[in-house]
């Protein structure tokens, strides 16, 4: 993958020490582990299927049957059962809200209320993420306004991990017209 090689090259130049967060036994994500460690203090994606370079985006695993899996470490395809037939595919940064819930009670330290949304992507994949820049109160008052809402992908810093790296999270916001 062109983008990956560029990022890897970049990483080799900048990195002072490589401390992979993802085990190299998981072949699919080896390239990602290299890609994301741009420097020892560089930002890290919160999940392996979020790629930060060259621009933040999601990737899925696509089976030859057409099914796309996000956040999957599957050995074989959950739809057709074929093994070893996955290719990595870049997912669109635009989608539509299928449904949502508004979380009012959560674990300590998690700010509520927030909208947990199920977003359909044009490739046929579905992801779960926070929906931002939409008032939870308004969403509850008129859920029909949220159903089918065109949304775009955005990233932000969620915090720092134990090693001091910024941890990057993705979410969706209403798409600009």
């Amino acid at each position: 993958m062109g983008n990956n090689s560029a990022a890897t090259a970049h990483a080799c130049v900048r990195a002072t020490s490589i401390a992979p967060r993802y085990t190299d036994t998981e072949e699919t994500f080896v390239d990602m582990a290299q890609e994301t460690q741009t420097t020892d203090q560089g930002p890290r994606p919160i999940v392996p299927f979020l790629r930060l370079h060259p621009k933040p985006h999601l990737v899925g695993k696509k089976c030859r049957c057409g099914a796309i899996f996000v956040d999957s470490r599957a050995v074989a395809c959950a739809k057709c059962g074929a093994d070893g037939q996955f290719t990595e595919t870049r997912l669109s940064n635009h989608g539509k809200v299928y449904v949502f819930s508004v979380v009012h009670q959560s674990f300590p330290g998690i700010k509520t209320p927030y909208i947990s949304a199920i977003v359909d992507l044009p490739e046929g994949a579905t992801v779960r993420a926070n929906l931002v820049d939409v008032s939870p109160e308004e969403a509850e008052k008129d859920p029909n306004k949220v159903f089918g809402m065109p949304v775009e992908f955005t990233t932000s810093v969620a915090g720092k991990d134990r090693e001091g790296h910024d941890v990057i999270v993705f979410s969706y916001r209403p798409a600009k017209a």
């Binding site: 999957s72 449904v99 508004v102 979380v103 009670q105 199920i118 579905t126 779960r128 926070n130």
Partner: protein
């Protein structure tokens, strides 16, 4: 395949028992069931124990230490919320296969005031996705399932709330229920929101509890029943998630329930309209509503109408097609491993006019269905007939 019957049942009131251990709770239910069957531990040939939170701790064998160690085969089962009903099914299969004549199934759980279930944790908390990539908490998962129904069919918050009112009303007649307080529609709607659209009273509580059943072959029934009529397990079905479009991002609780229901009705040779009562998995009010359709108690998209027409309500309260006359998980409680066996106890009590169902007895009950779904997912359906 041998026919399988439920000879005895036992259940302790769901609630909170911080002073007791899991094997004690399970042992109490087991003894109640054996006494109800007129048997003792020496008669039991096979024992399946369902428990989730101590799944690696040999709960079944520790129950035997409480009630009598006879050296019989014991299996420990864990299958999310379907843990108890899967244990019941193991006992059923042990007899149906012809290997054994008398089997014991126990479901037991001690949750304490555990709080919210689901979500992610462990490792560096910075990489926990809960609250950052939406929510994996059960209230959110079942909230989304309810919102999906709102999107597809225009279902209103009031529909979900009415289910909670109904189940709490039912629970006032069940001494085994963790909560027995009646609520008004306003109480439910004005309660604090947990995860839209489920308010506090539309979410089941955590708690402790145990339930047990003694299952026997047809041959043993004739020998032991002494003229007592005992329900036959007319269908025992277990399904898991088939691949569906959004399942990995948004757990699909409908498809596996529908396929289990179709198989169960076919196995039992009955139709939804034949059911005298249904105990279904109302972990949230939203779940109960969608399961009305998933169990074919009404047509696709008609759950709202079903509720408006008194569907799911006890006939004593002027309803039809009664659902969760025990109070359901919403009121009776949901000690995970115990739930699936407790649902079956409730069905058995109505079919046998057992005094334990006295105040809420469904008149002339002939066919009952018990449904459980565990996220991840596992769905069991048992249909019992008399």
């Amino acid at each position: 395949m041998s026919n399988v019957y439920v000879l005895g049942t036992g259940m302790i009131k769901f609630g909170r028992y911080p002073e007791k251990t899991v094997p004690e709770l399970g042992g109490e239910a087991a003894v109640l069931a054996m006494k109800d069957a007129g048997l003792n531990i020496k008669d039991i040939e096979f024992f399946a124990c369902g428990n989730l939170f101590q799944a690696s701790m040999m709960v079944g064998q520790r129950i035997m230490q409480q009630i009598g160690q006879t050296g019989i085969p014991v299996v420990n089962v864990s299958n999310a919320c379907a843990t108890g009903s899967t244990a019941f099914r193991e006992a059923y299969m042990a007899i149906a296969s012809g290997l054994y004549d008398i089997a014991l199934a126990v479901g037991v759980e001690q949750m304490g005031k555990q709080g919210l279930l689901g979500g992610t944790g462990g490792g560096d908390p910075a990489y926990s996705t809960e609250g950052k990539l939406g929510s994996g908490l059960m209230p959110a998962v079942f909230g989304q399932a309810g919102v999906e129904h709102m999107r597809k069919y225009g279902t209103k918050l009031e529909h979900f709330a009415k289910i909670s009112v109904k189940s709490h009303q039912h629970a006032t007649k069940n001494p085994f229920s963790q909560y027995r307080n009646a609520l008004t529609l306003e109480d439910v709607l004005n309660a604090r929101m947990i995860c839209y659209p489920n308010t506090l009273y539309m979410c089941c509580p955590t708690g402790d509890g145990a339930a047990a059943a003694v299952l026997v072959s047809e041959r043993k029934l004739k020998e032991l029943a002494g003229g007592r009529k005992r329900p036959r397990v007319a269908a025992s079905v277990l399904t898991s998630d088939p691949w569906t479009e959004r399942d990995l991002a948004m757990p699909d609780v409908s498809t596996l329930t529908r396929s289990a229901a179709k198989k169960a009705y076919e196995q039992a040779g009955v139709e939804p309209k034949d059911l005298s009562l249904t105990e279904l998995h109302d972990c949230f009010a939203t779940a109960e509503l969608i399961h009305y359709e998933n169990l074919f108690l009404c047509g696709e998209g008609e759950a709202g109408k079903f509720i408006e027409e008194g569907g799911g309500v006890h006939p004593d309260l002027g309803g039809k097609a009664p659902v969760n006359v025990s109070g359901g998980l919403l009121s009776k409680g949901h000690p995970l491993g115990a739930t699936g066996v407790a649902n079956i106890c409730e069905v058995v009590w109505h079919l046998t006019e057992d005094p334990r169902a006295k105040e809420r007895q469904i008149p002339n009950a002939k066919v009952g269905l018990a449904h459980v779904i565990g996220l991840g997912s596992a769905c069991t359906i048992h249909i019992l007939t008399i």
